[in-house]
């Protein structure tokens, strides 16, 4: 091992190294070979391009929101335009970016390789899910172009069914279709993980990334259809006037809330769980240690998925649900903190006495650890009945879920993209520039969202485009942070694009990581493995890797 204390990066000799002649990227040529591909790796790349596109659209709306909130006066846009901004920001970011982000890109690319399979179980269904994603995305874009939606991403009734004249049905159709895209992704992962594992690849030899994607897939399959039927009922209510959610006709708006959050709370775990899987891989690799308490981390993913179905009414504490029921939901909400804390503590113990190096994925992972912990802890505040009444519907809750979703999931997504970039493209990203981006993102993020905790605690409500002048200082800080954050997100787009052509040749295993994906060429062959691998070692077994590498050297020499 030539690794020094500064880095574990181990690149082949750049003067002689080349990208493998035959790989999944150049296996077939032409646009049609991409649009009709069944290859999970190509579909992952299609997804990556698509979600990046929608991420920057959602991000543009975030920018506009922060720009409006720079001053206390409603001077940039009218109030209903502002409502459309935050609604489109939420819909695009949640349904078109966060839900498919890690599963549909990294999960699609890596899960079959990690378990030693040639492809997902249903390649055509996988491609179908990408098309459904785009059809749903186009409906959402159509709603935007036609004049937008101003219900918020929650489509709250009776606001969405009776009091608004915007394009609710178009947007709801979009979300409905995207929902089926995510159902098919989840279904594919579950079947693949059950049925396609290579010989010797037992459940407890799976990388933790597979476990967390498995847990998220269960939520996708069981939760998303409830959202689908809810949106169908909302659309029917608008179009033909049925009254299932309409109090004037005997319906109950709270029924909508129950059904909506039955999906949308588990959806939070759909968004965060795959990110946690990325963090497990990254932290293990860059501290050269097996993840501490592998089994506990694996089962905590499943536990989060299970508990996720029992807590949804904590979104409804101030909506008039029963006090007794609220008590039960509050207690169950506290319970979710346990498996989340198990993960955080186990990652911390993985770091302990590890040979830690600070490559870019690890920087993002550290960002995740801190920010997700803050996000999770403030979630406990909000789960507590008394605090919730003070804090809900204020900027506190905005800061809370942005800490989990952006500070958690987006950091994890970027960690994963950098970590597996050499595997996906065969080339390294520029290390120093990407470290700068990671630090910029971290600073920008905290500058944006920490002031929002204070704002919320002081009582600034969310979803208003004007506010009392005494809140301006904190809002200016937040807007300034958003600018820095924007730069932090633009940088990877630029240098990752640059690296496609000019990055250093990465070789098979630049990080000296143990997963099966690192034992094959980068970028991989279309069929992943020349022959089906036989797995004879546990996950994260660095001694096995060292042994294997040593043997390779002797055979070559």
């Amino acid at each position: 091992m030539s690794a020094t204390s500064h880095t574990i990066v181990n690149l082949p000799d750049q003067r002689t190294a080349t990208i493998p002649k035959r790989n999944y990227l150049n296996n077939e040529d032409g646009l049609l070979s991409w649009l009709f591909t069944g290859d999970h790796k190509r579909i992952a790349i299609l997804y990556l391009i698509s979600i990046t596109f929608f991420f920057f659209i959602g991000g543009a709306f975030a920018g506009l929101i922060r720009l409006e909130l720079l001053t206390p006066q409603p001077d940039l846009v009218a109030s209903d335009t502002y409502n459309k901004f935050f609604s489109m920001h939420g819909i695009v970011m949640i349904f078109l970016f966060l839900v498919p982000s890690v599963p549909a890109t990294l999960g699609n690319f890596l899960i079959p390789i990690m378990i030693g399979a040639k492809d997902l179980a249903f390649p055509k269904v996988n491609l179908l899910s990408w098309y459904l994603y785009w059809i749903g995305g186009l409906f959402t874009m159509a709603a935007l172009v036609l004049g937008g939606v101003d219900t918020g991403w929650t489509f709250t009734t009776p606001l969405s069914t009776h009091y608004l004249n915007t394009h609710v049905v178009t947007a709801a159709t979009g979300v409905f279709i995207i929902g089926f895209s995510s159902i098919f992704t989840g279904l594919n992962f579950i079947v693949t993980l059950h049925r396609m594992r290579a010989p010797g690849m037992t459940w407890f030899r799976l990388p933790l990334f597979c476990w967390s994607n498995y847990a998220a897939s269960i939520l996708m399959v069981l939760g998303t259809p409830v959202l689908a039927i809810t949106l169908v009922l909302v659309a029917l209510e608008r179009l033909v006037g049925i009254g299932v959610f309409d109090p004037t006709k005997g319906g109950d708006p709270l029924l909508f809330q129950h059904l909506f959050w039955f999906y949308s709370h588990p959806a939070v775990y759909i968004m965060i769980l795959p990110g946690m899987g990325v963090i497990s891989e990254v932290i293990s690799t860059f501290s050269r240690k097996r993840v501490f308490g592998y089994t506990a981390v694996a089962f905590s993913s499943v536990a989060i998925a299970l508990f996720g179905f029992f807590v949804w009414a904590h979104h409804m504490f101030i909506m008039g649900v029963s006090n007794y029921s609220a008590l039960v939901f509050s207690l169950l909400t506290m319970l979710v903190a346990v498996p989340s804390a198990i993960k955080i503590f186990n990652w911390a113990f993985t770091l302990q006495k590890g040979s830690i190096t600070f490559e870019t994925p690890m920087l993002y992972a550290f960002g995740f650890l801190g920010l997700f912990t803050i996000g999770g802890m403030t979630g406990v505040f909000l789960g507590a009945l008394g605090m919730d009444i003070h804090l809900t519907e204020t900027y506190f809750i905005v800061a809370h879920f942005h800490f989990v979703m952006v500070g958690g999931m987006l950091m994890a997504f970027l960690a994963g993209i950098h970590f597996w970039w050499p595997k996906m493209t065969g080339r390294m990203y520029p290390e120093s520039l990407s470290k700068l981006a990671a630090v910029t993102t971290f600073i920008g993020f905290n500058l944006t969202f920490l002031p929002q905790f204070i704002l919320g605690y002081l009582g600034m409500p969310r979803r208003y485009h004007a506010y009392p002048p005494e809140f301006q200082v904190l809002n200016v800080l937040s807007t300034a942070g958003a600018t820095v954050l924007g730069v932090g997100y633009m940088l990877p787009l630029l240098y990752l694009g640059w690296s496609l052509k000019y990055g250093a040749i990465a070789g098979n295993n630049p990080w000296q990581a143990t997963g099966l994906e690192w034992q094959i060429q980068s970028p991989p062959l279309t069929e992943n493995f020349i022959e089906t691998p036989v797995v004879d070692h546990e996950a994260y077994d660095y001694e096995w890797l060292e042994h294997k590498t040593a043997q390779e050297v002797t055979t070559v020499g």
Partner: protein
């Protein structure tokens, strides 16, 4: 675990041997379903008080279980499939009970 290459999952507890169910079995299931349809219609015309819906739902559940076990072959499938079916109904029951817990306890005793 096993180093033996077992692509067909024959050694896997998630695997079940494929069985072909005979038309005779299907015929018996068909007759059972028709008979119970008759029973449920008949029961609806007898005033059983609060037990009317209970009986109707019990018969519906029985019929559904018969269809799932025989027409849908779950009886002959692996434990994995059985668990999958159970998970679906479990989640549905979670949806119902957790939501009803709110509605029932909102006006305690008046429900």
């Amino acid at each position: 675990m096993s180093e033996f290459h077992d692509p067909s999952n024959v050694l896997n507890p998630e695997h079940a041997d494929h069985q072909i169910i005979t038309p005779a079995t299907y015929g018996m299931v068909f007759a059972t379903l028709l008979i119970f349809t008759g029973v449920t219609v008949g029961a609806a015309y007898i005033d059983l008080g609060i037990f009317n819906p209970v009986v109707a739902l019990a018969i519906a559940c029985f019929k559904a279980v018969v269809v799932i076990l025989f027409f849908m072959h779950v009886k002959y499938q692996s434990n994995l499939i059985k668990l999958t079916v159970a998970a679906g109904f479990f989640t549905f029951i979670v949806l119902i009970t957790m939501t009803m817990s709110d509605y029932i306890s909102r006006a305690w005793g008046l429900w």
